[in-house]
């Protein structure tokens, strides 16, 4: 009998979020699951790590599933570090993060706690995938995601991913029947046009809420935004070598001394 794969599951919405509960259920059908996830929502945490504060990790029992679970006071990246160094008996065969409540397509990857956990695992040489559903609500319906998540995770386990690459998977918020399939994409050029909602405290002090409008600046049909708008699951291979290699030559012509 083949040994079952060891699967590390984490997220950024917190260990009680419906998205990670769905992901755990799916992963239990593939291998031995260990969960190390934040004890509270960490959305928008980017690749934050906890340097100036203590970290707590407690074993928790949330449902009757066969997985082992730990709740952690830190960020998604902290969870992965703690899992690898303190909680796992060996290097996991895959790390899956999510399923995020809300998009991590295009530029959102930069702000994403879900993807930072996957990237942290990638840095450790673990094949890693972040999954996100385009529904920000806590009551999001993850039914349509299940087969796609399983297919992609199984393929990653079978085929492997080279060091330095992590997969960013986004799933449109439509029914399973409406989803046309999976598309390999590049990250769309897009950004957020922020609008700050300026208010006054009861004591008269100004404060702001960050709000904004997402703007896709990219007309390409090979992008994640195009795929999602057209009913496909998007898969973007991303890398954490951020070097803009093509620009090194130009910078050399500046003759900086």
């Amino acid at each position: 009998m083949t040994k079952k794969p060891l699967i590390l599951v984490t997220n950024d919405d917190g260990i009680n979020a419906p998205g990670i509960r769905t992901l755990i259920t799916i992963m239990n059908t593939i291998g031995d699951v260990v969960v190390v996830a934040p004890d509270s929502p960490q959305s928008g945490m980017g690749h934050a790590i906890t340097l100036d504060s203590t970290l707590y990790v407690e074993q928790v029992f949330i449902d009757d599933g066969p997985q082992t679970e730990y709740s952690c006071s830190g960020t998604p990246a902290d969870c992965v570090k703690l899992a690898i160094r303190e909680k796992l008996s060996r290097k996991p065969d895959i790390c899956v993060s999510g399923i995020n409540h809300g998009s991590n397509s295009s530029i959102n990857v930069i702000y994403s706690g879900t993807m930072s956990a996957a990237i942290e695992a990638g840095i450790e040489g673990i094949p890693a995938v972040g999954f996100s559903l385009l529904d920000y609500t806590w009551s999001a319906n993850f039914e349509a995601t299940k087969d796609f998540v399983k297919t992609i995770a199984e393929n990653v386990l079978r085929q492997g991913i080279p060091n330095g690459i992590v997969l960013n998977v986004n799933i449109p918020n439509i029914s399973k029947e409406q989803i046309k399939g999976i598309k390999i994409c590049r990250q769309a050029k897009a950004n957020w046009v922020e609008e700050f909602d300026k208010r006054k405290t009861p004591q008269g002090r100004d404060y702001y809420w960050l709000t904004g409008k997402f703007v896709n600046l990219d007309g390409g049909e090979d992008t994640d935004e195009w795929a999602l708008e057209n009913g496909y699951v998007s898969v973007v291979p991303i890398q954490f070598d951020l070097t803009a290699h093509h620009y090194i030559q130009t910078l050399n012509t500046w003759n900086l001394k």
Copy 2:
């Protein structure tokens, strides 16, 4: 007379850190300076943004310089967003972030609040540079950084940087005379091998401190780590399109449906 450039200054060590005070002094010799920086240290914040909490921004007067300064309760990325939307009369000609107390070379760029501020400005189409000195202490001596920071900022203002690219500048912690010059580099393959320092609270509950050892896995002589170890200032052009373009073709052979 040529119009003076408008310079946005920020950092992640907080508005009172010696590193940003040095950067402000240097930038005052180049243009009109507006500072929007965190009111407290934000190291290791990665590209975190504040979604679930209010943001405060207050004008402050820290020294007698000609700059205008605002202290902000948010992350470095929040500071840049607030500066652009709420505090600046026009799009700045450059955004400089730092000077960070400690290295942001190689994989550290991923965890860096300093670089996340520069990247946020880059996303907004503003030429941006993050500066870091390889000395983590609050009493770091920034004297040797001054001419290099000025040279690089002036070159960025003169030559421009294409959309999508941001500069990551690291400066070795040696005297100005010992620094051999500036090298354009790629990001070294490196990681942190974390060690968690496990302790008990007075009440007997386990907790952890994140500590670790930096490991350079890259033998190349074209990397930022090599440059810094050999007495050069490293300049790495980085990009926030994280797509691993070269891997798209391979993923397509998986025939995911």
